[in-house]
């Protein structure tokens, strides 16, 4: 426990939710700073409640703190109210546990979960008093690390980071920290240390790479600056998820976070291969955890935290081989101990409906489907293996079981989309509504069936088959949303269907950064200097300032979004090897064009390249 807070009572009583800044939560780790060699601070560059909901940081926090020589603490973005005070009073940003300035730490690790957090990274560095550009830092500054899904194309923020850790954090940090201790003992320069870092597997040191460009703005070559620097950085991954770090005493926030429960990761990766999905590629191959391990972890975590809810997390829980066995065991335990179970990302079928009816209030809960596209043609293009018949069967059983709320998620702006594909969204919603009225006799209906259709705009991501696809511009997005709305209002059961759609401006910017290159660092810096911050929040997003910044830097957004990319284009992220080959992705891109789906990893191996890791599902296909 630490009652020596960095902020004064006056400040804490002025800001919204002071609990964001005081640490001291249950299971937060406190060590004697004189007895550790390494001070690490993990950062999620968004507000506390969002950051605390993130599982990845909890895993690494647990791992680092198991190292006796290391004390790992946490920091999140100060909200705009505190931000203003800290700038005015020149207060340094501090870590939650020790309340010590970040500037005094050995390492600052920042997780990059979404592109729209990039200006928040600069806020963290700035408030800490750390030079924003890696090249300006000295041994007086912490080594700034990046990780998480966006670090697979870290180029837009390359100038701000010293090192990116590519892949799953559990594997290489120990070796890395030992190297660091050795380096400090020897007294070598920071530059020499970065060169050594670049030689450790999984470590990408952007300053070791020289990027050259063609006249048309595309990348012409990626070269290393020093001999012996590996030209490709291969993703790190955990081979045995039953025998690695996983927190059984996660930090429990006082404030209600967005995930106020135990998060039990049942597997990593996904067998599906949806062509728009980046996570499905990055975490290949699928590796499952054993039921025994999961059950044990679940009980320990519940006991250590006092949570009364547990959720199974994975990209597609229904594909976990031992799901019924796991759920059965958990249901018995949770029933006896007043614990709720929640099961997101389940396929709707007889099995899941049966479970859902046991664990939740049918009247309040809704069925969720993510067909992602309205027409079968489009679903074949994106390789989403879900037919109208699957959806209707699931709905019919659910309606009979008493449900009458359905949520449907779609994307607009997918490659090769036509008007018919958009209209098919409305038709599918209409068909579901009609099915309800056919299935459930009037006297048994609890009012109208409620169908909510939500669409988001498709943003092509690196390391997916759609990384070659042009993204729609803002006007096309809006037109498509209007078309969807018009189609929905003209179907027979329109009164039972509600339609929501997401922001467009941020989808464009997200698209720029997703497939961006190093030249964007200066745009991000400019936008930050102009006052952009918390771009992921619609209330704080300032589109005009972004447009201005791009203009002043002479960089057109369209170059990154709507441009047609050739099959053999060198991508800015080509120095990163995520295990899935570019050839495979190109093959999938071509199959998408022809509307040909691919089997999933359980049915058949598509030869994506991940078999080279020699783990997980790929082993089932080895002869």
């Amino acid at each position: 426990m630490n009652n020596n807070l960095a902020l004064s009572d006056d400040i804490l009583m002025t800001v919204e939710k002071p609990a964001r800044y005081i640490g001291n939560e249950v299971n937060a780790v406190y060590k004697d700073k004189n007895k550790v060699d390494i001070r690490f601070v993990m950062c999620f560059p968004d507000v506390y409640e969002i950051g605390m909901s993130h599982l990845g940081i909890q895993i690494l926090y647990d791992m680092f703190n198991k190292f006796e020589d290391t004390w790992c603490e946490r920091v999140y973005s100060p909200w705009t109210d505190l931000d203003a005070i800290m700038r005015k009073d020149k207060l340094p940003l501090f870590a939650l546990e020790s309340q010590d300035p970040i500037k005094n730490f050995d390492f600052l690790g920042i997780t990059l979960q979404y592109e729209m957090c990039y200006t928040n990274i600069l806020q963290i560095l700035d408030l800490s008093g750390i030079p924003l550009l890696s090249k300006d830092r000295t041994w007086d500054d912490p080594v700034v690390f990046g990780g998480g899904p966006c670090s697979y194309n870290p180029e837009p923020v390359a100038d701000f980071f010293d090192i990116f850790y590519i892949g799953e954090g559990e594997t290489r940090y120990r070796e890395f920290l030992d190297m660091y201790k050795e380096a400090r003992k020897e007294g070598i320069s920071r530059q020499e240390f970065l060169i050594r870092s670049a030689k450790i597997p999984g470590m990408y040191v952007p300053s070791m790479f020289e990027i050259s460009y063609n006249e048309d703005g595309t990348v012409s070559s990626i070269d290393t600056k020093y001999p012996d620097i590996p030209p490709k950085i291969r993703k790190e991954l955990v081979t045995d998820l039953d025998n690695t770090y996983y927190p059984t005493a996660p930090v429990v926030p006082y404030l209600k976070s967005f995930s106020d429960r135990i998060n039990l990761e049942i597997q990593r990766g996904c067998i599906r291969g949806c062509r728009f999905c980046q996570a499905g590629v990055l975490y290949r191959p699928v590796r499952e955890k054993s039921v025994d391990h999961l059950f044990k972890t679940a009980i320990e975590s519940l006991n250590n935290t006092g949570y009364d809810e547990i959720t199974l997390s994975s990209l597609s829980s229904s594909d976990y081989s031992h799901l019924d066995e796991l759920i059965e065991k958990l249901m018995v335990y949770c029933g006896e101990n007043m614990v709720n179970i929640s099961l997101p990302s389940l396929r709707i079928d007889a099995f899941s409906l049966d479970i859902m009816s046991k664990i939740q209030d049918i009247k309040k809960s809704s069925l969720t489907f993510a067909p992602e596209a309205g027409s079968q043609r489009m679903r074949d293009i994106i390789n989403k293996n879900l037919t109208v018949q699957n959806i209707l069967n699931g709905c019919e059983q659910a309606f009979i079981g008493g449900w009458n709320k359905v949520k449907l998620y779609f994307m607009l702006g997918l490659p090769f989309e036509t008007d018919e594909d958009i209209e098919a969204i409305a038709e599918l919603a209409n068909e579901i509504a009609a099915l309800y009225y056919e299935t459930i006799p009037k006297e048994k209906r609890m009012g109208r069936v409620q169908i909510v259709v939500s669409t988001s705009f498709f943003v092509p991501k690196p390391f997916t088959p759609f990384q070659w696809a042009p993204q729609d511009d803002k006007e096309a997005f809006i037109e498509k949303a209007y078309k969807t709305r018009k189609a929905i209002t003209s179907v027979l059961n329109q009164k039972s269907i509600k339609y929501n759609w997401h922001e467009t401006d941020t989808s464009v910017l997200e698209g720029v950064f997703a497939r961006g290159d190093r030249r964007l660092s200066k745009v991000i810096l400019k936008a930050y200097e102009k006052g952009c911050l918390y771009d992921a929040w619609s209330e704080t997003y300032k589109h005009d300032l972004w447009v201005e910044s791009f203009k002043e830097c002479g960089i057109p957004m369209e170059f990154y979004t709507t441009r047609q990319r050739s099959d053999d284009e060198i991508f800015p992220w080509d120095m990163i090897d995520c295990g899935v080959t570019k050839e495979f992705l190109l093959r999938e891109w071509k199959k998408a064009k022809e509307g040909v789906p691919s089997p999933n990893c359980k049915e058949k191996c598509n030869g994506c390249g991940a078999t080279s890791f020699g783990v997980g599902i790929c082993r089932n296909h080895l002869q």
Partner: protein, 235 residues
């Protein structure tokens, strides 16, 4: 179905240090988890999302510390009072401490309905400079027959005229900057400690900046007399 049996307990706790910045709702959620971790046989409500049967006496404002907070809890079995105290304290290290546990008779009213008065120590922060005669002037002010004041209404803005003296049961200086008061804490007539000190400073013509005080709640009381005021801590 038969009503399952239960035993009620009243818990007194203190809240000091950094945890004073945690609001009332979050403290309630904190306790729910503490109780689960302690493994005490807490009683749950029926239904799809069962919750623990806890009821808190009187919310403490964010930023206040306290030595006298209370909640009632129902257990399915009888457990020794000292054991409850020890088991809860074993699962807390955040600045909240269980001070006392008492089993309640079956028909006992819940602690919220008993709250009649509360006592506080109010410290004027150093950023306000106090004259040498502050103590004397304050005591003079508080010792008047009546202290007519306009108290902000609980809801909807506006003021009500009351005689503060009627709701002020005790006062004394702890040191040059710290005043102890005991005031009414009824649901309609509740007197905020900050309001008392603001009134005092106002009567001496002082400007009051933002966040002027450090406030500590000493205890919460019920009135055990039918026709007079006789205060006793909730346990």
């Amino acid at each position: 179905m038969q009503e399952s049996s239960s035993v009620k307990y009243r818990i007194k706790f203190s809240k000091n240090g950094a945890i004073k910045y945690i609001g009332h709702l979050d403290v309630m959620r904190y306790f729910q988890k503490v109780i689960r971790r302690s493994g005490l046989p807490v009683k749950y409500s029926e239904g799809y999302s069962p919750h623990q049967l806890l009821s808190f006496a009187f919310p403490l404002s964010v930023g206040y510390t306290s030595d006298g907070e209370y909640f009632d809890m129902a257990l399915t079995d009888k457990v020794n009072e000292d054991e409850i105290k020890a088991r809860l304290n074993d699962h807390m290290d955040q600045g909240i401490l269980i001070e006392k546990v008492k089993e309640l008779p079956e028909k006992a009213g819940n602690c919220m309905s008993l709250v009649f008065a509360a006592s506080y120590k109010i410290r004027v922060k150093e950023k306000i400079s106090l004259g040498d005669d502050f103590k004397e002037k304050t005591l003079d002010f508080l010792s008047q027959e009546t202290i007519p004041v306009n108290k902000p209404k609980k809801k909807g803005g506006g003021f009500v005229s009351i005689d503060l003296k009627e709701y002020l049961y005790d006062y004394k200086f702890i040191d040059d900057r710290t005043l102890y008061i005991c005031v009414n804490a009824g649901s309609e007539t509740n007197i905020k400690p900050s309001f008392v000190m603001e009134t005092i400073l106002g009567s001496q013509g002082m400007d009051i900046p933002e966040n002027p005080f450090m406030i500590h709640r000493v205890d919460i009381y019920e009135n055990v007399s039918e026709d007079a005021i006789e205060l006793r801590p909730l346990i």
